[in-house]
Symmetry: C2
Subunit: 450 residues, 2 copies
């Protein structure tokens, strides 16, 4: 039997980590506060589907899980933009063939990973066990049986906190922040979100284009929709908590109905249960969590949302978490399994990339809800797609973040922002694609290489 | 009997607030976790003496407490700089007469305020009662008797959290951060601190200049000393936690002794108990806390360190807290005692100033430990002092922060930084005060008014 490790939290990150560590020979004990989602209906509160892209796929491939997951996915080749007035337009995510993102059900993906982890015979999953207390000095954790309330203690050489945005392991570090000089921040957006649904068409099939991420950009707010395997779309309304047009104003059914008919008439025609969904689904906040150090005493390590919860506007939260597993895995051999070396180098190389995707995600809200309705931005996107078609070496910021799993997020952010600045200025100076001069744009972009 | 309010925490801010609200006719219940410091020796862990300046004095004056406090203070007219090599130099805090800061004992000041609050007959102080639970919706708080462990609940229309840098009220807001969109950050410096002592001279009196704040700037670290009424000085060593020259390196008595003899020979000659003080006093971290909103539901308000814990390098933590009381007091009439209006406007006007002093305090560490040993900086300070002597309207950044209680911290920061930039550039361009051209500097400064 291999060395024992403990993982707190059997969400996407914790389960992939458990699977991978089992493959490396460790004996893995996983504690998860919620019941086993394979046997119980999951409570709401987390987004229902997610966009899986190349960084996430690379993490899954490392654990041999890519083939298990692909059947659950629906390719989305671009953004289908639904303007307030006029025709919908598809804007592809990449100018190259073979680059797209994938809609996948959070629950479906998690269950496949749980099954695969358990099948190794080296992963012991304990559901309904919440982490109650943490002794950061000794590496012991006290778990509480959520059904009986009884508690017990377990320990291992290393404990991974993959227990999500409200991590108990992280909260233990925060309680002793002066001791570990644990920097922490949580910052909320003015925007809230609520999930809604477009059901399958009568008799089956999709009511909107299946292979797209749909966006209804309305400047101060937006609605998006991602396809599900059953023909439905999970719809998310992003709208300020308070203000002139906000959730706070939608106080009765007439106001809710007229809001949707005013701003999203084509979509709400496909939403028969709009009013009841609106009332039964929560209105949730959107926050970014940053903290450091992620490891304490070479014994505890935060990973995934526990270390870096991001807002959803770049569709990279899960992908970043799977990449975390990949980065950690790459250090196990280097340090011959010495956890204090692994954990220290992990946090040092990974922190800047987690910060980068957190910041990119916040910025991208504005791109999604405003820029996608801006003619200059749309022209700039057309220029970029053309550049990507023509030049193998050109990758937009979006492409570097999403399709270049070989580049760190921090590089993608820095290079991508510089490109964006050049291209937005260029696009503002021309009237249409007819005036677009490929060589000139290439020259401008190459100034960044100097 | 006036309307009841609850204050959690009877430190400097909570006690001045209690006194002032009692004067306004409120009935004030104060719960403090620690025992009554007037009857018990206080545990260490907080700095022993503080610099009281004009903002703090203005807050005390509002409550008629200035005259009670002044006998406890020792004026400090400037920084006495002790270079590694060469003679000590006094650099005054202001070029004007009548502008200085005051060394005061935290405990002594707190006790005076407790007595004065109690003497109103309207302030009910309960010691040894820690805040255990907080119901942010209803305004109720559960207190725990620290001696017996028994708990009880109290409530009021408004509850003030003046319970310091690790506030229980703030932690309750953080636990429900998604609900209240409560932004929070804590950030630590690489620098740690340890308090030491220079005792009174044999037969009484001060071993160093009494009326100065002493600094031994050593670039990467420093030591400071503030005078006490009994002739002693409270000494604070600010040194990195880890690294080449750091607390982590001072592992035995020989290393401690040789560190002090190398860097602070003149001071350590006055520190007979250096080694035992070094071992018995804690090495503490330095962190900045920012958060927002400070008020929840018009029922709970964070004030003082609970809302904005700052590092000590501008000597403004207590002064900012007393100014908090003044700002709040100014809103009570405006809203005719309606707490939801008072609390909302309070946080809106006060937040930017709290952020400003927090940022100024972090920056000032470098000024104290490095710049005060830099000839250009010292020349710039001489220029500023001369400007202050000559021009009634000229105030350095330090003077605006420290002596201009009529200016908000945020203004002092913005204007002060702009002046600093101009003057540092000017000072770098001349060789000595002989080349200093008052009219030219005045002209440069006036460019900021444009």
């Amino acid at each position: 039997m291999g060395e024992k490790v403990i993982i707190i939290g059997a969400g996407l990150c914790g389960t992939l980590l458990a699977l991978r560590l089992a493959q490396r020979g460790y004996t893995v004990t996983v504690y998860e506060k919620r019941p086993d989602m394979r046997k119980n209906t999951i409570s709401a509160g987390r987004s229902i589907n997610l966009a899986l892209s190349d960084r996430g796929l690379r993490g899954l491939a490392l654990a041999g899980a890519e083939e298990d997951v692909l059947p659950l996915t629906i390719p989305m080749y671009g953004r289908m933009l639904h303007p307030q007035v006029g025709e919908e337009t598809m804007v592809k995510y990449s100018g190259r063939d073979g680059e797209w993102i994938n809609s996948v059900s959070r629950g479906g993906l998690n269950m496949v990973l749980l099954d695969k982890a358990e099948a190794t015979g080296k992963v012991h999953l304990h559901f309904g066990k919440g982490c109650d207390e943490v002794d950061l000095e000794t590496g012991s954790v006290t778990l509480r049986d959520e059904a009986t309330g009884s508690t017990f203690t377990d320990r291992a050489e290393v404990v991974f906190g993959t227990d999500g945005a409200n991590s108990a392991i992280r909260n233990a570090m925060l309680r002793e922040s002066a001791r570990y000089r644990f920097d922490f921040s949580i910052k909320y957006l003015p925007t809230a979100y609520k999930e809604l649904e477009i059901p399958p068409a009568e008799g089956g099939g999709f009511r909107l284009e299946k292979n797209a991420l749909h966006i209804w950009p309305r400047d101060g707010f937006m609605m998006i929709a991602l396809p599900n395997l059953d023909g439905s779309f999970t719809v998310t309304l992003f709208l300020p908590h308070t203000g002139e047009v906000s959730f706070a104003q939608l106080t009765d059914d007439i106001l809710i109905r007229s809001f949707f008919e005013q701003y999203f008439p084509s979509a709400c025609a496909h939403m028969p249960d709009l009013i009841s969904d609106f009332h039964s689904n929560p209105t949730s906040s959107l926050g970014t969590v940053k903290c450091y150090p992620w490891q304490v005493n070479g014994k505890f390590l935060l990973m995934g949302d526990a270390a870096h919860a991001v807002v959803p506007f770049y569709g990279q939260g899960m992908n970043a978490s799977f990449e975390d597993v990949l980065v950690l895995d790459g250090l196990i051999d280097k340090y011959a399994g010495d956890w204090s070396g692994i954990l220290e180098e992990y946090q040092q190389i990974r922190k800047q990339d987690a910060d980068a995707i957190a910041d990119l995600a916040v910025e991208n809200e504005l791109e999604m809800r405003s820029a996608t309705a801006d003619p200059v931005f749309l022209l700039k996107r057309r220029i970029e797609l053309k550049m990507e078609q023509t030049y193998r070496d050109y990758f937009s910021k979006y492409s570097m973040v999403t399709f270049r799993e070989d580049l760190p997020y921090s590089y993608a952010m820095k290079r991508g922002r510089a490109q964006d600045e050049i291209l937005m200025k260029y696009a503002a100076g021309i009237n249409s694609m007819a005036e677009f001069d490929e060589q000139e744009v290439l020259r401008l972009i190459h100034t960044l290489d100097g």
